[in-house]
């Protein structure tokens, strides 16, 4: 028991430290907020026009579409910073330290990312959400239970996203240049999670495949829960899908890590 509370405590300290570190650059913060707002604004204009020009082909209401588009831009951060840190630490050989640390690399990275996430949530996502709500009048969740389910779903989405990024980062042990792999990961997630185009607009054959892939659990499923577009059974299915993919990706990640530890060749000393 004491072991567990100790490790939780040390992880909380790591999370807190990253949280504070991200507060340092204030000009960038303002630029980021303004940039995100502009993108949300333009996306909403774009989709509103498309929606109004083609009245017969719509499958959702305009309000729902606007809410979806507005939220995608602030919900998921697909590219996580630790992927690049790991790459540079592998190249410099610093990664060796991770093997002797008392905390597992995965846990350490997760705690670090979580700190960054909450920092982002407080200073960016929530302010942006409030701004978008007042500026564009997006829909609020239908009920209190929808809010709770949405938060749960976003949390699962976050773990899934972390796992995919973790797998990419570990791949840096085999591929020394992560740039390409990272672009592949980002673009695949962006497209298949419904971050660029909502999955509703995918042709049926593609949608029937995409909805079972891990990516749908990152943006599309949480937002559908928020919008109240899914029945109770569909919500349960969505959670099941997210959990199954979390288990699979966690397994892949730990297999990779085992393999790395057993035949690691460190650059430099």
């Amino acid at each position: 028991m004491r072991e567990i509370s100790k490790s939780v405590k040390s992880n909380l300290i790591i999370a807190r430290q990253t949280f504070l570190n991200s507060m340092v650059f204030r000009t960038n913060y303002i630029i980021d907020i303004v940039v995100d707002l502009i993108f949300v604004l333009l996306s909403i204009m774009l989709w509103t026009t498309i929606f109004k020009d083609n009245p017969s082909q719509n499958i959702t209401s305009l309000a729902t579409l606007i809410t979806y588009v507005g939220l995608t831009k602030i919900v998921a951060q697909i590219d996580m910073k630790f992927v690049w840190d790991i790459q540079s630490r592998i190249l410099s050989g610093e990664i060796a330290i991770e093997l002797v640390r008392p905390i597992k690399l995965r846990t350490y990275l997760f705690a670090q990312e979580l700190g960054r996430y909450f920092n982002n949530l407080l200073i960016k996502t929530i302010p942006l959400y409030v701004l978008i709500y007042f500026l564009f009048g997006i829909d609020l969740p239908k009920s209190f239970s929808a809010v709770l389910l949405f938060i749960l779903s976003i949390f699962l989405s976050y773990i899934l996203l972390f796992n995919l990024n973790y797998i990419t980062a570990l791949a840096a042990f085999w591929i020394t240049k992560l740039f390409s792999l990272s672009v592949f990961k980002d673009q695949t997630i962006r497209l298949l999670s419904g971050a660029i185009v909502p999955l509703w607009f995918f042709p049926d054959w593609l949608f029937s495949i995409t909805k079972y892939l891990p990516f749908a659990g990152i943006v599309f499923l949480p937002l559908n829960i928020y919008l109240g577009k899914v029945s109770t059974t569909e919500t349960i299915e969505a959670f099941m899908l997210q959990i199954i993919w979390i288990l699979i990706t966690t397994f892949i990640g730990s297999m990779m890590w085992k393999k790395i530890v057993s035949n690691l060749a460190i650059n430099g000393g």
Binding site: F25, T27, N28, I31, D32, V35, I38, F39, L42, S43, M45, L46, T49, I50, D53, N54, Q57, K177, F179, S180, V183, F184, Q187, T188, R190, L191, I196, V197, F201, F202, P203, L206
Partner: protein
């Protein structure tokens, strides 16, 4: 004359050094092509559900996109030195350029030749052939002229934009967010007909001339927007030169203002 010789020499060096990492070179090309393919696929998905956006079909919108990809490819081949310029300034490396006997702009240009831009240029050409096959554009002398001046003008504007962000890095420590902003704006939003945005946005993108990168030159050839002032796409080259001149003045002014971050 000696400037030109120096430039050619450094370009030859760049070509040689890039040949050292063959595998990475091809991987990067493949990655870039994949990136654009996904962007286009997203547009295709949208338009397979809805037939058109403001009367523009998939081929016409791809034609707009083609201007963006091709002009970016041409521009970045020579201007890649300005892509991560703020890192250069932040590390204090810029000081070296100030004591050398050539203009700073020239030295940055000499520093980098981006050969992976073949990916953008090839993607652009493939897109062009594909769109042209479906759109049946009549290639009269006028249209050929419009195409060339459009691509040249668009490349100049993309270059000016990078130079603009680079000038700003003398005032703001980290401009990476702005560079990303400009790129996303051009690639994800301004590759749609700008009629989808409201009047204010249209004015902003016309005065700060980034709509001349893809929408206006494409419209000059396709003639889709007849009652608006879409016709100004025929003169893309003029705003591009004006914009470059203004940005260049700002660049000179910013360098004068510059205090080193090094010690």
């Amino acid at each position: 004359m000696s400037g030109l010789r120096l430039y050619i020499r450094s370009m030859i060096l760049q070509v040689r050094s890039s040949q050292q990492y063959r595998f990475n070179y091809f991987l990067t090309i493949f990655t870039v092509v994949f990136h654009y393919a996904v962007q286009l696929f997203a547009i295709w998905l949208t338009l397979s559900h809805y037939d058109n956006i403001r009367g523009w079909n998939i081929y016409e919108i791809s034609f707009i996109y083609m201007f963006f990809v091709l002009s970016y490819g041409i521009m970045i081949t020579f201007f890649a030195g300005f892509r991560d310029f703020s890192v250069f300034v932040r590390n204090g490396d810029f000081d070296i350029l100030l004591v050398r006997p050539h203009s700073t702009l020239f030295q940055v240009l000499c520093g980098r030749l981006e050969l992976t831009s073949i990916a953008q240029i090839a993607s652009g050409i493939v897109l062009f052939v594909w769109c042209n096959y479906h759109l049946h554009i009549e290639w009269s002398l006028k249209n050929i002229f419009l195409l060339i001046q459009g691509i040249v003008g668009a490349s100049i504007i993309q270059a000016s934009l990078l130079l603009f962000w680079s000038s700003l890095s003398f005032w703001i420590v980290d401009t990476s967010a702005l560079v990303r902003f400009g790129w996303t704006l051009n690639s994800n939003y301004l590759t749609y007909p700008i009629e989808v945005f409201n009047k204010t946005a249209k004015w902003i993108f016309t005065v700060f001339p980034i709509a001349f990168i893809s929408y206006y030159p494409a419209n000059a050839i396709l003639n889709k927007d007849e009652n608006g002032f879409g016709f100004i796409g025929q003169f893309t080259i003029l705003p591009s030169i004006l914009f470059f001149a203004l940005v260049f003045l700002f660049w000179l002014y910013s360098i004068r203002h510059y205090n080193s971050t090094g010690n």
